[in-house]
Symmetry: C2
Subunit: 515 residues, 2 copies
Amino acid sequence: MFELKATDLAGRIGLLTTKSGTIETPALLPVIHPSKQEIPPSLIKEIGFNAVITNAYLAFKNKGEEARNNGIHKTIEFDGIIMTDSGGYQVLEYGDINVNVKSIALFQEKILSDIAVILDKPTGAQLDRDYAERSVELTLKAAKETLAVVTNKEILWTGPIQGGVHLDLIERSAKETSNLNFDIHALGSPTEIMQSYDFKKLTDMIITAKKHTPSNKPMHLFGAGHPLTIPLAVALGCDLFDSASYILYGREGRYLTDYGTKKLKDMSYLNCVCPICCSLSLKEFISLEKETRSFQLGVHNLYVLIKTVNDCKEAIREGRLWEYIGIKAKAHPRLWEAYKNFSENIEFLEDGVPIFKSKGLFLSDIVDNSRPEVLRHKMKMKNNIRFRKCKLLLLPETMVKPFYKSRIYSNLKKELGSIIDQIQICFLAHPFGIIPIELSDIYPLSQYEKALKPDSDSNLDQDMVDDIVSIIYKNKISEVFIWIEGGYTQRLGEAVSKKIEINIVSSIEELRNKL
Amino acid sequence: MFELKATDLAGRIGLLTTKSGTIETPALLPVIHPSKQEIPPSLIKEIGFNAVITNAYLAFKNKGEEARNNGIHKTIEFDGIIMTDSGGYQVLEYGDINVNVKSIALFQEKILSDIAVILDKPTGAQLDRDYAERSVELTLKAAKETLAVVTNKEILWTGPIQGGVHLDLIERSAKETSNLNFDIHALGSPTEIMQSYDFKKLTDMIITAKKHTPSNKPMHLFGAGHPLTIPLAVALGCDLFDSASYILYGREGRYLTDYGTKKLKDMSYLNCVCPICCSLSLKEFISLEKETRSFQLGVHNLYVLIKTVNDCKEAIREGRLWEYIGIKAKAHPRLWEAYKNFSENIEFLEDGVPIFKSKGLFLSDIVDNSRPEVLRHKMKMKNNIRFRKCKLLLLPETMVKPFYKSRIYSNLKKELGSIIDQIQICFLAHPFGIIPIELSDIYPLSQYEKALKPDSDSNLDQDMVDDIVSIIYKNKISEVFIWIEGGYTQRLGEAVSKKIEINIVSSIEELRNKL
């Protein structure tokens, strides 16, 4: 039912099969209003959305008869995949004694939803713990009640995880919901968190939910429809999204861009080449009659969202999801904060990172020093690599990669002849640390591009000093030679020599004499 | 002839008036081949390019008669603004005794170019200094020869600056070319530098050329047509660009994205919503017959380029050029390297930064600590601000802005009454440093968004310690109180107290007792 095709970080590309067809995830499902939809679902499909979501409660209220008789696909006129949200929010907000968990469940079966959601009790951003706890319990109760009454095995059922900002409640909710064997899980109602750009909190919430649900099931994130939120959530392992943002923003005169929203009236240029933006000027766009403008903005916004989803998928396929999130993160300090905090969750994020990628790593910033591929090498050096030789020569990183093709190594081999076989040779390559020559052509140790040339780091690289000292202790090295070439290795040599006895060399003659 | 409308960093939006109309800069002029043009200029205009460039030498060789009789506009069938490049590159490469500086100049006059370029001697990326020096001299000679023979005052003439990677030669070339009073300046032939992604070198070259030419004239950058290069060059003050990249990439099966190029055949998704990419699937795109594919790719690439230029202009209008370059920089380590190096050229970059902006600053990364608006405040504190009071109270940054609206300040005012008037109150807000309460609502001191909450910086903020010590010395403060609230201010307090006598307080009672 859900087949993984590719992964990077915790993000994945998957194929989700429903009774109305298969959809590739990550996928965003635009919200369709069952009776007051402004942009026709057929146009939404044409833009590239093969699945949509509509609201079972609103369909029940406004189009109950029609939906029961003809099915939801004919009712909203969409022949792709239809998910129905239960309407938990609406029921919570307006109260309605005519519906209950069971009736909403059976209604979704009756109208032949492809993906259905139990009538949950959203926690919202409630800080009140008792309230949050109760919403978790009521949602679990509704989950059990629903699964007990539904019979159509072709419909995929979604079990929402509640708990709001209370991570321990999310954990409990995730664990207990997982036991019920839903087809899909969903993280409930982080809308307010997303609206306040609290990406760090959102990260914690998603990771908690993901850690305590089976990884072979899709994770839906309710209400995410922003070009910064979707990439973050994708990287954290969310597979499905639903949002009415395209039209809500449209009604408010808001224009999505790759990095956020702008008010159309505040803009000076149309930063988009979608069919809408190619067909009219900014001035014309602004002066459209309100309803038409809202419609056109909605369509433009859908184009930006489909591009966002495709960008995420392309980044996963390329193995460049870390780089892509970095670009997005630079667009907003609160997202940068969350991105910077990725280093606290490397174990979780590393899982999906392939051992080999077709593209090299981009290493620009201090944040990149703790990306999974870098830490993986450090762990390997710490836990798996033992040297047989007792002499160690540390050479500076070279621009030529793999390092064994560098001039410095060729010269050493030529000049020292067989002596070199008695020495373990390693290169010092920030941020990887120590790279034994034998590993130097293994991905990504010769497939990376750095912001700074090897010698231009201005400060002492304390991590590298620690790496050197620890590798020497671990490997019972009796003699260490550090090749000094410029300020970076100079500073390293000085710092290491304070902790351990080493030989500093800067020419082959010097090395030969000391050997 | 060239009117500035808005600036940010060294970037600017201008209006350049030619005899065929006015164009808003920054503007990219797609290269049109005078006889073998694949994408019709009319389509290029439709995409949004109101000016193009073509090659005078190639027009002379292939369409000389027609161009002389009917003018270049009819010859290449473009009714917008036409710049003609002289063909210096082609003449250099192939040699041609049938043309010379004078004949190429008069030909450009005859065919009624709107913007013409003298027949220069491109330095290229030649490291040979003698060669570079000679190209500077020959270009200057050609410049003088050209200006001596041309008579049509309606044509704008461009004086190229040569010198290649030799910054002192660029300086000399820029200074001497400036003396000749050209309408437009141009930086010659950094193509190889751009192709090797040496953005730092490119930055140095552009800044050198800009510093030594009059700022009220447009600066053209030859051969820049990449979505990472254009934003960088715009931020550094380049106004005009020309490039054949759209079609050259197209012929190689290369697809432009917002962050670079990809080979169409390596892609998994079309990351674009331009009319081309909306009209066919990736699979269809790949399997197009070569010539059609090259055409369609060319058109797609033009859409990406016009979006890039519009993004730059929007960023200038918004005062978000720093942020925009940061986003682009995260896409490639070599661009990040150049961006990081902006701090070395703050005086140059600061010039165009408005004192007040409509949008707040985004401060995410250590690089942002040296953005012009931040350094401006630091300079102001250092040079212009003197306190009259001799008691100083340093309070931690608050989430509420302006700071005088914070709870901590309201409480102090309420509890201390008139005593507070005898104390100079400042807030400690990284990366700005010290913010006197009187300045706290002046842009951007209450209009910024930071990645980290005030207290979560993990290391000691040495800049802040230095700022505190220096402000105390400068202002003859007799008593200093630092309000401690969490680790950040704790560490600051400890570090400052090692250098100077201070009172540490953490409640109003404590403060009252010590006053």
